[in-house]
Every structure is written in structure tokens, then in C-alpha cells.
């Protein structure tokens, strides 16, 4: 199981940038289709909010690949 968790980490690491690429592509085409300020703001908000989330997915994938999830914390002393 730990091996699957570890190698799946690569997928999550790749999924972050891939999701951002798709989002930016869609945002660009939607703005091109309807080049109004509120379309730009709307898609700007999406890109802005998803950027840290995608980064989080990359970090999650990295942690998974590094084996951080092989053993989950048993108590709070393991967390802080």
C-alpha cells in the first residue's frame, strides 16, 4: 500500500500544473469569446483562487512521494 501511495504522489504532483494549464486555457478562451470586464474578473478570481490550491496538490503529491503518509500521526504531539 505504501508503494502505491508513494507512486501515486507523482500523479498528484503532475495534476496540479495540468489543472492550472487547463484552467488558464479555458479562462483565456472564455475571455476571448466575451471580452468584458466582468468575464475577466470572474475568471481572474478562479485563476487566483486555484493557483494556491494547485500548489497545494503539488505539495501533497511531493509529501506522498516522500513517504510522509506512510505512517499517519497517532496523537497531537506528532503534529506540532
Amino acid at each position: 500500500m505504501n508503494l502505491i501511495k508513494k507512486w501515486a504522489g507523482i500523479i498528484w504532483m503532475l495534476a496540479g500544473p495540468l489543472a492550472m494549464y487547463c484552467l488558464i486555457r479555458i479562462a483565456a478562451s472564455e475571455i476571448e469569446l466575451k471580452p468584458e470586464l466582468d468575464t475577466k474578473i470572474q475568471w481572474g478570481v478562479f485563476v487566483l483562487i486555484f493557483l494556491p490550491i494547485a500548489l497545494g496538490l503539488v505539495i501533497f503529491g511531493y509529501y506522498a512521494f516522500s513517504g510522509e503518509y506512510d505512517h499517519l500521526p497517532e496523537n497531537s504531539d506528532d503534529l506540532t
Binding site: 498528484w12 470586464l37 466582468d38 474578473i41 478570481v45 478562479f46 501533497f60 500521526p73 506540532t80
Partner: protein, 512 residues
């Protein structure tokens, strides 16, 4: 638990749940009345006002909610749960009441949309801080073996908030005048303010009850020992050991929960109204029934999670959603499509009205048709087009068709059943999640650590569902089920991550 403890925990649950319920109610009435509010404050003819409307819609849910989770989560871990979620309640109630008092665009011009936008942002901020506080507060009072059961009462509030907001809106729309059309007109003019103004009374009662509550015993103990966190944000997101749990909570649980929650309760309603073309009131009463039947299941799944663990109940809800959504939505679409061979001819009618367009020789033609079917379904259709007088132009323009369907009893209850199934999935993913999140983090940074993944999962991933689904339906006009691709993909990803990385173990000790 002795009788004293039992009484105490129920007082804690009542005080927390009532406040959270009111906060959800306040947040939903704005969303449910978005069209009416847009007409009052954000006229489409004015581009700046329309822009502010976009900001009110997207910024409140997607940016301000997670931001509120950080601001109030930090406060809750620094000064305590009780005063923080009291503050969120005052903010939410105050801003909701104030929205009901703001004069419209015609009266005070640009000040109106700006004030409404600011108040909406305050609502989002307050909501971001409320849930984590209420869930933490209840969980820190609950015994270890019944944490899922007791926190599940908090979980019912989001759905009940929606239920009450729908109910209040429907009742206000209907009872302002004996004539329904006049009543709706009055509602759109000034009656929409009533649900907002009512909030003051509800919040007043809730503040009074919450003021009487004492601080969470676990937080009080930490504080008396001087062990509270000095910098909750840094400890929550700056330390790898805790950050990895925040990430697994987001990608392995709350993200999937958010999309299942929004699909079952919001996208389903939007699908019934916009794709199936079911009447405004009927699509809402269907959801009201489904919610009413489904709500007890939050408590049942929450309680069950105390016995078998939280993980597999939540993930089963996601799995069932991914597997059965296409069937459930397809079925709703099929039920709403009448069989033309079953029209009752003598009860159906059609009339045409032609109006001369001023300054031209062209006519505006409106064809009103009413079809009644043997199943009891009534379909009202209004087709409007222009009939040109000039011979060089085509005879007519493409008609604008508006359809509204009223279903017969059997069809109506079949759709309630399908909605109920979707609400069951909502209760599976949402019932145990408060206990799951509470158990993942230590007391001193619990409020901050659990609030952010919850509000990104529910607010951002979930809140985007109706928007992305509509966008997909527009991009694939021949596939009415295209909108489901987004919630299914997110739920599937979350299911895989959750299955691999989440632990099913119930943490007995949340006192650390």
C-alpha cells in the same frame, strides 16, 4: 454520561446549531434571491453595477469564505471558540439585516450596489468563521464514543438552513396578496426584504442563547495552562506535520464532500428548473420534501461513524454519487419529458397575440399554448417572435420560447424520490465530516486547521459546481448531462485520494 452531562451537551448543541442554522439561512437567502436582488441593486443596463454583481457572486463565495476561515480560525485559536463564533453570528446577522434595509439603485444610485457588495462580502467572511467554531465547540464537549453523533447535529444545519430559506421565500412570495401574480409582483418590488429583515429576530435569539454558554472546556484548560498557540496560522500551515494533514483533509475528504453537497442540493434544483423546465415553485417544493425526508440521515450516518469509522461512510457517499449521478439526472429528464401521444386535446389550448412594433410595420407575435397530458402534467409555452412586413426579410425571426412544466402527482413524487437519493449521498459525505476534521488536528490549532480545508472544499470546489456545470452544458449543448462531468471528476479524484491516504481510525483523544 450522567443526566447533568447529557443536559449540558444538548444545551451546547442547541446553542451552536441554532446559530449555525441562522448563518446558513442568511447566506442562502442572498443566493436564492440573486435575480430579484440584481434587479434592485445591479441593473444590467449599467456595466459598473453589473460588474459589482459579478464580484458579489464570485468573491463572496470563493475568496472571502476561505479568508474568513483564516481570520476567524486564528481568532478562535487565540481568544477562544465562544467569543469568536459569537462575533461571526453578529457579523452575519447584522449584514443580512442591513441588506434588507439598503435603498435600491433607483433611490440612491451607485451607493446601493457598493453597500450591498460590502455587506455580501461580510456575510462570506462570517460564514467562513462560523462552521469551524461550532463544530469544534460541540466536539470538544462531546464524549469520545459519540463525537460523530453529537457533531452531526451541526451538520444538519447547512441543509436545514437551505430548507428554511426556501420555505420563507416561497411563503413570502405567496402571502403578500390573495392574487398570486400580484403577490409575486409585490415580492419582487419590496417583499424580498422580509426574509432579510427576519434575520435580526433569529440572530437576536441565537446571540442571547450563545452568550449564556461557557467556553469549550478543552480550550479553557489549554488557556489556563498557557499552552494556547502563539501563531495558529504558522503552526497550521507552516509546519509540515500539520500541513500534510490539512492537505489530506482537503484533497481526500472536503473537496469531494463539497461537490456532492452542491450537486444534490443546488445543481439538481438548477437542472430541474433550467434543463427540465419545471415550474419555479414546484422545483423548490420537490427539494424541500427531499431535504425534509433526508435530514435525519445526517444524524444516523454521524452516529454510525462512531461505530465503524468516518472514512468509508464518506467515501461510499462519493462512490455512489459518481456511479449513479448520470442515471438519476437522466431519469429526472425523462420524467419531465411528456409523451406527445398522451395530450388531452379538449383541455389543451393555444392563442396568438400580435402587437404592432412602434415605428415599424412589423409585428411582435406571441403564441401562448397550454398542453395537458394524461399523466397530469401541464406544459405552458410562450413563443415570441417578430413577423416582418418587408418581403426582402424572412417571414419571421427565430422565436424565443419559454417553457414551464407543472408535473402530475406520480411524476412529482418520482422526482422527489430521485432528489432524496441525492440528499442521502449528501448526508453520507457530510454527516461524519465534522468529527473527522476535529479528530485530525490538535486543540490549540484546531479551529484554524479545520476551517480552511472545509471552506475550500465546500465553498470553492462545491460552490463552483453550478457555475462549471452550466458552463459545460453550454459547451456541449447536445448533452444535457454534460454538467455532471465536473462533480463526478472531482468526487472521483477525492475518492481515490481518500481511499489511499485517509485513516479510518477514530481518534479517542481530542484533548491533546
Amino acid at each position: 454520561m450522567n443526566q447533568n452531562d447529557t443536559n449540558k451537551i444538548w444545551r451546547v448543541i442547541s446553542a451552536s446549531s441554532l446559530g449555525t442554522l441562522i448563518e446558513w439561512y442568511d447566506f442562502y437567502i442572498f443566493g436564492s434571491l440573486a435575480t430579484v436582488i440584481a434587479g434592485q441593486f445591479f441593473p444590467k443596463t449599467n456595466p459598473t453595477a453589473a460588474l459589482l454583481s459579478t464580484l458579489a457572486t464570485f468573491a463572496a463565495g470563493f475568496i472571502v469564505r476561505p479568508f474568513g476561515a483564516l481570520v476567524f480560525g486564528r481568532l478562535g485559536d487565540l481568544i477562544g471558540r465562544k467569543y469568536t463564533f459569537l462575533l461571526t453570528l453578529v457579523l452575519m446577522g447584522g449584514s443580512t439585516f442591513a441588506i434588507g434595509c439598503v435603498p435600491n439603485y433607483e433611490t440612491i444610485g451607485f451607493a446601493a450596489p457598493i453597500i450591498v457588495l460590502l455587506l455580501r462580502l461580510l456575510q462570506g467572511l462570517a460564514l467562513g468563521g462560523e462552521y469551524g467554531g461550532a463544530a469544534t465547540y460541540v466536539a470538544e464537549h462531546a464524549p469520545a464514543n459519540r463525537r460523530g453523533y453529537f457533531t452531526s447535529w451541526i451538520q444538519t444545519t447547512a441543509t436545514l438552513g437551505l430548507f428554511i430559506s426556501l420555505g420563507v421565500i416561497l411563503m413570502t412570495r405567496h402571502f403578500l396578496d390573495p392574487d398570486l401574480n400580484k403577490s409575486i409582483a409585490k415580492f419582487n418590488d419590496w417583499g424580498w426584504r422580509i426574509p432579510f429583515l427576519m434575520s435580526l429576530l433569529l440572530v437576536g435569539v441565537s446571540i442571547y442563547i450563545r452568550l449564556k454558554m461557557s467556553e469549550s472546556p478543552l480550550f479553557s484548560k489549554l488557556k489556563s495552562e498557557g499552552k494556547t498557540s502563539v501563531n495558529p496560522l504558522k503552526e497550521s500551515f507552516g509546519h509540515k506535520a500539520n500541513l500534510k494533514m490539512v492537505l489530506v483533509a482537503l484533497f481526500g475528504a472536503t473537496m469531494g464532500q463539497g461537490v456532492v453537497w452542491y450537486t444534490g442540493q443546488f445543481y439538481a434544483q438548477s437542472f430541474l428548473e433550467n434543463v427540465c423546465k419545471i415550474d419555479f415553485d414546484q422545483s423548490r417544493t420537490m427539494l424541500i420534501w427531499a431535504i425534509l425526508f433526508g435530514t435525519p440521515l445526517f444524524v444516523i450516518f454521524g452516529s454510525w461513524s462512531d461505530k465503524i469509522g468516518r472514512k468509508w461512510i464518506m467515501l461510499s457517499g462519493m462512490l455512489l454519487a459518481v456511479v449513479t449521478y448520470p442515471y438519476l439526472f437522466k431519469r429526472m429528464l425523462a420524467i419531465s419529458k411528456p409523451d406527445s401521444s398522451t395530450i388531452i386535446a379538449n383541455k389543451s389550448s393555444s392563442d396568438t397575440v400580435r402587437t404592432l412594433i412602434t415605428g415599424t410595420a412589423n409585428h411582435l407575435r406571441t403564441i401562448n399554448s397550454k398542453m395537458v397530458y394524461t399523466s397530469g402534467m401541464q406544459v405552458q409555452q410562450t413563443a415570441t417572435d417578430t413577423v416582418y412586413s418587408s418581403t426582402s426579410l424572412p417571414t419571421t425571426s427565430k422565436p424565443v420560447i419559454k417553457t414551464s412544466k407543472l408535473l402530475g402527482d406520480t411524476d412529482y413524487w418520482q422526482i422527489v424520490l430521485l432528489l432524496f437519493v441525492m440528499i442521502v449521498y449528501v448526508t453520507m459525505v457530510y454527516g461524519p465530516i465534522a468529527a473527522f476534521l476535529v479528530e485530525l488536528f490538535p486543540t490549540k490549532i484546531r479551529y484554524t486547521s479545520m476551517s480552511l480545508p472545509y471552506h475550500i472544499g465546500n465553498g470553492v470546489f462545491g460552490g463552483l459546481t453550478p457555475f462549471v456545470a452550466t458552463l459545460l452544458t453550454t459547451s456541449f449543448p447536445n448533452n444535457p448531462l454534460a454538467g455532471l462531468m465536473y462533480p463526478m471528476a472531482v468526487a472521483l479524484l477525492c475518492l481515490l485520494i481518500g481511499a489511499l491516504y485517509i485513516n479510518n481510525k477514530i481518534d479517542e483523544n481530542v484533548q491533546d
